[in-house]
């Protein structure tokens, strides 16, 4: 009955309508960023003056913008490229490593019973609740004391310490209560644990693993405070760069950059989706 109700026309319209509202909520601020990325006002993006493409051009080093006065307000393309690259490298490495670690831990805690399980559950929560500033300064003191050179590597390590916990939670939610009969059947048929994992468990938990990876990637991409403290000279990331200019209000150049980054992720994901749909 409920099943029927849920698939009735009324409910499916309701779900669809809600879905649209949900997407509007998510996209309204982005729409604003998109619009303002064409605003010619170089000093104050909150006041619309004129339509311009210049902000997109300045990112690539083209179009020395309107006046000398504005030039003092635009960042060099090299600098922008550098911080974006740093962010991408850190987010990619940190989220990949933490997805592996977090997934392994989730499987261990969901599939095995052992003494100290509670300890691990508590331990995994800790990195998420340490306030950023505390972890940032503590890690800095630790890295300096242990003789690490501050660099992108220290940022990747720092991010991995707390990202693994997020992956763990998302993957665990997927594993919890999942049917284990297939895994048992595979084991009974003589498949080794690795084969069973690759052929049976992994495909089943894949949505959780992908979700955990995405979450970790997003968090790493946005982290400001921890990164700030453990970044070496010249290894600042995009959020740090943006935070520093916030005192005078965001520049339209940053809007243009955000739109470009979105467009880039959109294209990459669209290609991925297309390839997948061709495979099936």
């Amino acid at each position: 009955m409920l099943d029927k109700i849920l698939s009735s026309r009324f409910w499916s319209w309701l779900f669809k309508g809600y879905g649209i509202v949900f997407l509007i909520f998510l996209y309204l601020p982005l729409g604003l960023i998109f619009v303002y990325s064409f605003n010619a006002n170089s000093i104050n993006m909150a006041v619309w003056t004129d339509f311009t493409f210049d902000w997109y051009l300045t990112i690539f080093g083209g179009a020395n913008s309107q006046s000398e006065f504005d030039a003092a307000f635009t960042e060099s393309p090299e600098r922008i490229f550098e911080v974006v690259r740093n962010s991408a490298v850190v987010a990619l490495c940190a989220s990949t490593i933490s997805t592996v670690i977090g997934t392994a831990t989730a499987i261990a805690l969901q599939r095995y019973n052992f003494a100290g399980k509670k300890f691990y559950q508590a331990l995994l929560i800790l990195p998420m609740i340490v306030p950023d500033i505390v972890l940032g300064i503590a890690l800095l003191i630790f890295f300096v004391g242990a003789g690490f050179e501050l660099s992108l590597l220290t940022i990747i390590i720092g991010h991995t310490t707390f990202l693994a916990s997020y992956v763990f939670i998302v993957v665990s939610a997927r594993l919890a209560g999942m049917d284990t009969t297939l895994e048992q059947a595979s084991a009974d048929l003589g498949a080794g644990p690795l084969t069973t994992f690759r052929r049976v468990t992994l495909p089943q938990i894949m949505p959780g693993v992908v979700g955990g990876f995405l979450l970790a990637f997003i968090i790493s991409l946005d982290d400001v405070v921890i990164t700030y403290f453990i970044a070496g000279v010249g290894s600042q990331t995009l959020p740090i760069f943006i935070l520093a200019m916030m005192r005078r209000g965001l520049r339209p150049q940053i809007n243009a950059l955000a739109v470009l980054l979105l467009a880039f992720s959109f294209v990459v994901a669209a290609i991925g989706l297309y390839l997948r749909s061709r495979k099936t």
């Binding site: 006041v47 501050l150 403290f229």
Partner: protein, 346 residues
């Protein structure tokens, strides 16, 4: 399988990036650690071209943020830009090294009254960089003429939520102290409590405690904001609409000095940069962008009239006399932090 492939390529990317950054910090480089938005980017470019030096600029947004990182052991930076009281602290903590900047050519241009450091009165360590007042940035369409703190708070009382103050404990409690006729460096418990009560009384009328108010005042979301003199850049862009004023009751002022860290890896280039910064044309170019007070007497002559004659950028002597600069308070800072915690919570 894919995972492993990703991991491999990730490590490869990281390794190559690391290799690139270590090349960048080879010979011929200079690493600056300055406030955000506190140097004209063209100056860095000019220096970089003239001396063929690779310059890196990292930024911070409070003195304490910079101190915390340096104290915890971050290295690699050559020059930092502490405020005068932080310059004193860093020198006391033995974090700086002497530069003998006072022996360099061009030092004769530096205004002797800008040698404000108590630890370094002869500028053997640091070079005075720039100074400025902390006043009120306002929208003339909402307040045609603003001259005093009294008027600022009266307007706020009539239009609650339309003004902002800085999210800085010493600056904002400092306004309370000034209006009660006390020193902004007071260590007197009663005076600080009075300042706390004053700000607390105004708090319902204050829209926010924040730094990034320029867009809000320009758009008319806020009428007036406690802000640094750097806002004159925006005010001069549309002088009919925006203004910046040093209130007649008095105000606080800041000054930063350029200091060389004890751990500086590129001392020779750092010294070259100090000398470069003393050139009148360079200093003037920087001031045009920062729109704050210049410490370089030869540079002031080169400034455009709208800055040279601006009463907030280059204030007359009687106004200068009303400006107070922060000292290091030592243990008494605790009185301020407790007062500020209460202001923010109650």
């Amino acid at each position: 399988m894919n995972m492993i492939k990703y991991l491999k390529s990730g490590v490869a990317i990281a390794a190559s990036v690391m290799a690139m950054t270590s090349i960048a910090s080879a010979e011929g480089s200079l690493n600056l650690y300055n406030w955000g938005e506190y140097i004209n980017p063209e100056i860095i470019e000019d220096f970089s071209k003239e001396f063929d030096v690779d310059v890196t600029l990292d930024t911070y947004s409070t003195n304490e943020e910079m101190l915390a990182r340096i104290q915890a052991g971050a290295t690699g930076y050559d020059l930092v830009w502490p405020s005068v009281h932080m310059h004193d602290i860093m020198q006391k903590l033995n974090l700086l090294q002497p530069t003998n900047v006072n022996q360099m050519p061009g030092f004769e241009n530096i205004d002797p009254s800008a040698l404000r450091s108590k630890e370094d009165p002869k500028a053997e360590y640091c070079l005075p960089y720039a100074w400025g007042a902390v006043g009120i940035f306002y929208n003339k369409e909402m307040i045609p003429e603003l001259t005093s703190w009294q008027q600022f708070f009266d307007y706020a009382a009539a239009n609650p939520g339309k003004v902002t103050m800085l999210d800085d404990l010493r600056e904002t409690l400092g306004v309370g102290l000034i209006l009660n006729g006390a020193s902004v460096n007071s260590s007197d418990k009663d005076e600080i409590t009075a300042a706390e009560e004053f700000i607390l009384k105004q708090k319902p009328n204050i829209g926010a405690f924040r730094y990034d108010i320029i867009p809000l005042v320009t758009a008319g979301d806020m009428a007036a904001s406690h802000y640094y003199v750097g806002a004159v850049l925006n005010a001069n862009q549309s002088p009919d609409k925006l203004g910046f004023v040093i209130p007649e009751e008095g105000a606080t002022m800041y000054q930063e000095d350029i200091c060389m860290l004890k751990t500086a890896p590129n001392t020779a280039n750092a010294l070259k940069f100090l000398e470069f910064m003393m050139r009148p044309d360079v200093s003037a170019k920087n001031t045009e962008r920062l729109t704050n007070g210049s410490v370089n007497t030869a540079a002031i002559a080169l400034l455009p009239d709208e800055l040279k004659n601006h009463p907030a950028v280059n204030p007359p002597a009687e106004m200068r006399a009303k400006l107070q600069i922060f000292d290091d308070l030592g243990k008494s800072l605790r009185l301020y932090t407790r007062a500020w915690d209460r202001v923010k919570t109650n």
